[in-house]
């Protein structure tokens, strides 16, 4: 009995996959940068704008009510998807970067003082480094990195050592690395950090589109994600925070929605989650992110994880046949990300020549410069990254195209 593959089932949902670039059929392998959107998301956003757009909350009219319900429905879907204990633990943000900045500024400025340490890993995205550098510079605190091993996994010994040595106030780490693919043992890392008395923040940007997530099982204090990498729209993401920690945190942005009462004699703030959501929200984004999560669940997170795991193994094997090619990041547990370098060749040249053949890949440091420095990869890597709609055949064709590029450049 023939089984349909995941891509066979889902590709029809993605209109963009039928297009051409430079006269060649598009093969989109840049999903870690941003995933494409299923029709349900595109149409859901359209439907909102064409049928029930209105500013939400505090609106007594029907459209405002419809829009509020749909937007708050998006929040509920996120809460359920990552198993938060309530919707008030989900703060809508403009993305992961915005979410981490919220924590760095609201939690960090209230809790970090001179001499404190924030511990992160050398595989962090800039989004989980720079906000901490900024607040630490202000407070006289320091950002300390944990080492990454040759195979792209975290150096757990160094992690334990650093926890003990620095007694960090906060520990931040990626759930999955956007450059290496490595899936970190987040429950273990969280438990160790908690034992050391640290608050934990997990950057789930690359996990939400690929893995089942249970923040209560993990036990972390903060968890962030971004919509556009999870089949959702741009300009929207979320911060999960445990209720108690969010309640104790001062607000960050001021304005409408986040207040209870404003006067020139003194202003009081709203309850969760609104305390952290100033101004008119990205209503269509919240609605469409909810639809994206429905889409993921409709397809099945486990099916996506299994599919991508198989793709990574296939890609590793197929790329291994090209001489002079080295895969960067060979952890056993990986999301659908394959970074590589080719001896003597510049990733930019390879990426350009793949583009000419219709393949969208990303080259450079992938916003992980400290990792690239650490691994001695001054020009970065070429990264292919997969999604539910990526096929083995696309990977095979990418390998052929890459071989052609290598030959042209040699």
């Amino acid at each position: 009995m023939a089984m349909t593959t995941l891509p066979e089932r889902v590709r029809k949902d993605f209109p963009i996959l039928d297009r051409e670039v430079h006269g060649k059929p598009l093969v989109y392998l840049d999903n870690a940068a941003s995933a494409q959107k299923p029709l349900a998301v595109i149409e859901g956003q359209r439907e909102y704008l064409a049928n029930y757009h209105a500013n939400i909350h505090r609106g007594a009219h029907h459209l405002a009510q419809l829009a509020t319900e749909a937007y708050e429905g998006g929040r509920s879907k996120i809460a359920a998807h990552i198993n938060a204990s309530g919707t008030e633990e989900i703060i809508f943000t403009a993305g992961s970067t915005d979410a981490i900045n919220l924590v760095a500024q609201a939690w960090g400025r209230a809790n970090l003082t001179s001499g404190d340490t924030v511990l992160v890993t050398r595989m962090e995205h800039h989004a989980n480094i720079v906000p901490w550098q900024m607040v630490c510079a202000e407070k006289g605190a320091q950002v300390v990195p944990v080492n990454v091993l040759e195979d792209g996994t975290l150096d757990l010994d160094d992690y334990r050592r650093a926890l003990e040595q620095h007694q960090p106030k906060l520990v931040g780490f990626v759930h999955a690395s956007n450059t290496l693919g490595t899936i970190n043992p987040v429950s273990e890392l969280t438990a160790l950090a908690k034992k050391a008395g640290a608050v934990t923040l997990i950057d789930g940007s690359q996990a939400v589109p690929h893995l089942a997530i249970d923040v209560q099982a993990i036990g972390c204090d903060f968890y962030v994600g971004t919509g556009h990498k999870a089949y959702g729209p741009t300009g929207i993401g979320f911060l999960f925070g445990r209720r108690e920690i969010l309640e104790a945190m001062p607000p960050w942005r001021g304005g409408g929605e986040m207040i209870k009462r404003v006067s020139f004699d003194g202003t009081t703030y709203n309850g969760l989650p609104h305390k952290f959501e100033a101004g008119t929200p990205h209503i269509s984004g919240g609605i469409a992110l909810g639809i994206a999560i429905d889409w993921i669940n409709g397809v099945g997170v486990e099916a996506i994880t299994a599919h991508e795991t198989a793709l990574v193994q296939h890609a590793h094997a197929a790329l291994g046949t090209l001489p002079g090619l080295r895969i960067i990041g060979t952890a056993t547990e990986k999301v659908g990300v394959v970074s590589l370098v080719v001896d003597g060749l510049h990733p930019y040249d390879l990426g350009t020549l793949l583009d000419g053949q219709g393949f969208a890949v990303r080259t450079g440091h992938h916003c992980t410069e400290p990792l690239m420095d650490h691994l001695g990869l001054e020009s970065g890597t070429l990264r292919m990254s997969f999604a539910a709609y990526t096929t083995r055949e696309e990977i095979d064709r990418a390998v052929i195209a890459l071989e052609r590029a290598i030959n042209m450049l040699r």
Binding site: I56, H57, R58, A60, H62, Q65, T68, E69, R261
Partner: protein, 144 residues
């Protein structure tokens, strides 16, 4: 017992509103109820009893009655909200604490006014219902 009381009162309200097909007629009736509502005692219409919605304000007073029952009285500065809080009081007041705390309040939904219960509507109604339940739950716990 009280659970049935609450259920039958809800049915009464639903039947009463079934007379009105039209949105505007329903509101006309709600407004009449709002005008009639035995408002809260003047002496209790104080900030202690105020629930500040963003759109309209609600006052709520709760008293323990005999046998663990709870008696509510309420008011609002907006007539429609006042009609709604009056309905809420009519359905819940005098029932026993446990039944109030656990009541399945479906009547607003059934008469097509559930949107007023949305917390984002900020008329104070949702907060009021929450406070009624909290008061009742606390009382029930004390007596248990």
């Amino acid at each position: 017992m009280s659970t049935e009381l609450i259920a039958s009162r809800q049915n009464d309200v639903i039947e009463e509103f079934a007379l009105f097909d039209e949105w505007m007629d329903k509101y006309e009736h709600l407004i009449e109820l709002g005008k009639d509502v035995p408002a809260i005692d003047a002496g209790r219409k104080t900030d202690d009893h105020l629930i500040k919605g963003c759109q309209s304000r609600v006052w709520l007073a709760a008293d323990e009655g005999e046998g663990g029952t709870v008696h509510f009285s309420a008011d609002s500065d907006a007539i429609i909200t006042k009609g709604l809080v009056g309905l809420m009081v009519r359905v819940l007041s005098g029932a026993d604490a446990k039944a109030i705390a656990e009541a399945d309040l479906h009547f607003l939904d059934a008469i097509g006014l559930h949107q007023h219960l949305s917390p984002t509507r900020s008329n104070g109604l949702a907060s009021m219902v929450q406070q009624m339940r909290l008061y009742a739950a606390a009382l029930a716990a004390r007596r248990a």
